[in-house]
Symmetry: C2
Subunit: 129 residues, 2 copies
């Protein structure tokens, strides 16, 4: 039951796309992460995710559909400081930060950062800070 | 999949201790609430709660024990802007705001604001804003 200061915890993070756990409740984690550049297109089968911008801004790209006959449809939403977005399970998304953004995540403890994808961005086991 | 601006939603709230729902994920709600003055001592049997201060500050008071032979032990934690605290289920607590504070809550959709207590602060059915 100690309080957590977001800025203090963020000052300990010196890399990108590597979420750190800062709180736990009801089987969910609160995580802090720094975004920079484009992430991997992915979705989560069973988890909804919340992204709250603590500092900076980023663009959440969504896409759906796409086959030989028609291109996929893409939609971008800019998330600014003091704003959040919930990405429902199953929705294909990709966060992109043109400049570094500091983000608070809220999602089930089971959530893998790259969802259905395994690549160089995947962090199999998260650490607490 | 629309973004939510915390300040914009908070500008719609003109009362105290009346949480409004602003997001839902994984059976949990994100709520915004304005605190002012002392709330009710209570606990939640089955829910952990997160309190993140968006603006201002408040004091979370905790107490335990207390019987005819010995007084209860109380501990206060000040939660400042940009800080959060998780109150685990079963822990007796009371938020107190000497001046108005704006707070983001994260907790299961089933959570009653006054937990095990029913009094003038109880809000049986929350509304979305």
């Amino acid at each position: 039951m100690n309080k957590i200061n977001l800025s203090q915890k963020l000052s300990l993070i010196h890399d990108h796309w590597n979420p750190r756990i800062v709180g736990e409740l009801n089987g969910q984690y609160l995580k802090l992460v720094k975004f920079q550049g484009p992430f991997t297109w992915h979705h989560h089968e069973n988890e909804d995710e919340m992204f709250l911008v603590v500092k900076g801004r980023f663009r959440m790209e969504f896409r759906e559909g796409g086959n030989d006959a028609a291109p996929s449809q893409q939609r971008d939403v800019w998330i600014e400081e003091g704003e959040f977005i919930v990405v429902p399970r199953g929705v294909e998304h990709r966060p992109v930060a043109d400049e570094e953004a500091e983000v608070l995540l809220f999602e089930p403890a089971t959530t893998l950062n790259t969802g259905n994808v395994r690549d160089e961005f995947t962090v199999p086991k998260l650490e607490w800070i």
